[in-house]
């Protein structure tokens, strides 16, 4: 039954114009970044010499050292420390921070399109339930032998699948376009600073990781939108609240972190899982496990409330 319900939701999703507009905008974004990257791409002869970039990194390290002295924010402190270490590592091992544009730098720059995907699946998550209430179609949907839980589950799963679909579209097309336009030349290594040590990582692994980490944030925001839309049965409220949360949530948490360690329990202190593989967490003492547990608690809370309200409330439209 659940499978058929998901099939239904997918059919409805892809019968609406909005869905195609979203895919269109995403493609447009890809084309734009491809064109931009193409016309500003760095080639072998543009790369600065070793003396030049060494000079730059030394200068940067001096600035960072000042920051390190002056700040008491853990996040800024970590940032200053890890970047100094990485810069030193680059100088010692002759790994330039500059490289010719290649498929990996292109995919990396497309990471910002994930924000766009975020807005899209928030819209889908917010409307997939509320829209049926607005149009009254929820009545004919509920008076069948599928349980309310099954119906809500099918809608949630469809939303997540749609998000994965967009991510796959982005990643896949970025790879295809990038490899045609920019090729595979360049260093395939990514440096990160973990537990006081600089580590070399494969570029592809790092890209996968950062896409994955972005998706975690998307899942959380989508569940939030989904919950709000199920409780209030209103798409506009759900979209507005969630998009707002998406754009100001991280900043608000950063500010909160200046004042109190309690910030580590907030949702957005935990959504950027890749900090555990790069600069370190926002608040000292947080671990990957801690973040995962916090995320699971938030997710369960959102979904629990959504299911509770959907099951219990009368439908009187």
């Amino acid at each position: 039954m659940l499978l058929k319900l998901i099939q239904n939701e997918w059919m409805k999703l892809f019968s609406r114009i909005g869905t195609y507009v979203m895919c269109g905008i995403l493609l447009l974004g890809l084309v734009t970044t491809a064109a931009f990257t193409f016309y500003t791409k760095t080639q072998e002869e543009d790369l600065p010499s070793k003396e030049q970039w060494e000079q730059e990194l030394l200068q940067e390290n001096e600035n960072l050292a000042v920051d390190e002295q002056e700040t008491n924010n853990n996040y800024i402190l970590n940032y200053a420390r890890s970047n100094q270490a990485i810069n030193t590592y680059r100088i010692e091992n002759d790994i330039s921070p500059y490289e010719v544009t290649n498929v990996w730098t292109y995919i990396e720059s497309n990471n910002m399109l994930i924000q766009l995907i975020g807005v899209f699946i928030i819209i889908v998550g917010a409307s997939i339930v509320a829209h049926e209430f607005n149009k009254g179609t929820i009545k004919l949907l509920l008076v069948r032998s599928a349980s309310r839980n099954q119906i809500l589950a099918s809608k949630f799963i469809t939303t997540i699948l749609f998000g994965l679909f967009l991510l796959a579209l982005l990643f896949g097309l970025s790879f295809v376009v990038g490899s045609i336009l920019f090729g595979f030349d360049g260093t395939a290594v990514h440096l990160s600073y973990i537990d006081g040590e600089v580590v070399e990582r494969s570029r592809i692994l790092f890209l996968g990781l950062s896409y994955l980490s972005s998706s975690v944030k998307l899942v959380m925001l989508t569940s939030f939108a989904f919950m709000i839309s199920t409780i209030f049965r209103n798409e506009t409220i759900a979209i507005a609240l969630s998009v707002m949360l998406m754009f100001v949530g991280s900043q608000a948490t950063n500010i909160l972190a200046l004042f109190t360690d309690w910030a580590k329990y907030s949702l957005f202190a935990n959504t950027n899982l890749d900090v555990y593989f790069t600069n370190g967490p926002m608040v000292e003492g947080m671990t990957l496990l801690f973040s995962v547990v916090v995320l699971i608690i938030y997710l369960s809370l959102f979904l629990f409330l959504a299911f509770l309200f959907f099951k219990k409330r009368d439908v009187s439209i």
Binding site: M1, N8, M11, L140, L142
Partner: protein, 305 residues
């Protein structure tokens, strides 16, 4: 005696402090069209929402094919096809895809069934058109196809003729009569269009302010022992009135030279013979058809708060 297909048993509904439905009980049998009449705000839609499980029941029980809608929802609801208020279909899907959508939610509904239902409601030619382009009549018909898709045993329709033109109303009526008889389905139809119900239903209930006022057979008039009003056009109305008051009835109306009496069918026969025997010429005798409208007003009279 056959088992009722749908049975409401002392159903109550409270919303907040408002007692919207009070101790409502009635049965609908297979093959029967049961009218559910009441003025605006009487509680028809609320009752129907309870029957199909969209809204909880405060007390009492509703049984469909003897499964309780509250305790055994899955079993009960599989026998039900319904339209609650308007047929709210997906405007951005085609007619066929709308039906496919509901077919996937029921067991054993094939592509062939979808095709057949579309044919029955005469929508085959527009199966690939989006519902947003449909007229109201087409939407109502697709709504019926949707409700009948999984061969339900109970059909529950809230104001199915709402917004239809006379031809559409007639078509809907004929279709419902046909499926009630041929597929032996119990049909519950709500309406405030009394004249419409009279032509469609076998029995009907009248509710007002959430309370059942009465349940009646539509065809109870015209029987031998049921009194109706008769109008008699006769050449000497004043003389006739006098004679009738003497001999047969307590009250005789005389309006525009036409005699009006309230008697049984049996008695009117005697009156005709009596007047003829007294050398009067009878031009016309008409039984005034008492409409549901009259009965409705009669039944709800004085209860309007």
């Amino acid at each position: 005696m056959q088992e009722p297909m749908l049975s409401l048993q002392k159903v109550n509904k409270m919303i907040g402090r408002n007692h919207i439905i009070r101790d409502l009980s009635f049965d609908v049998n297979p093959g029967e069209i049961f009218g559910f009449l009441g003025p605006n705000g009487a509680g028809k839609t609320t009752t129907i929402r309870m029957v199909v499980g969209l809204t909880g029941i405060s007390s009492g029980d509703i049984r469909i094919n003897d499964f309780s809608i509250t305790k055994d929802y899955k079993n009960a609801i599989q026998y039900v096809g319904t339209i609650v208020e308007n047929p709210e279909l997906y405007p951005y899907l085609t007619a066929e895809k709308n039906l496919l959508h509901y077919a996937r939610m029921s067991k054993n509904v094939t592509k062939e069934d979808i095709k057949q239902r579309l044919e029955l409601v005469r929508l085959s030619h527009v199966r690939d058109q989006k519902v947003s382009r449909f007229s109201l009549g087409m939407k109502q018909r697709l709504g019926i196809a949707q409700a009948m898709l999984h061969n339900p045993k109970v059909l529950i329709l809230d104001e199915p003729t709402n917004g239809l033109d006379p031809a559409g109303v007639r078509e809907m009526r004929d279709y419902l009569r046909k499926v009630a008889k041929e597929e032996n389905i119990a049909i519950l139809v709500s309406s405030h269009l009394l004249s419409e119900m009279e032509l469609m239903c076998d029995r009907f209930a009248i509710i007002q302010n959430g309370k059942l006022v009465k349940v009646e057979e539509v065809s109870s008039e015209g029987q031998m022992d049921v009194a109706s009003f008769y109008r008699i056009e006769v050449d000497e109305p004043n003389k006739a009135k006098k004679l009738l008051l003497d001999k047969y009835v307590d009250e005789v109306g005389l309006d525009d030279e036409i005699i009006r009496v309230n008697v049984t069918k049996e008695k009117i026969g005697k009156i005709i013979t009596f007047l003829t025997n007294n050398d009067m010429t009878i031009y016309e005798v008409i039984r005034e058809k008492q409409t549901l409208e009259d009965r409705f007003l009669e039944a709800t009279e004085g209860e309007v708060s």
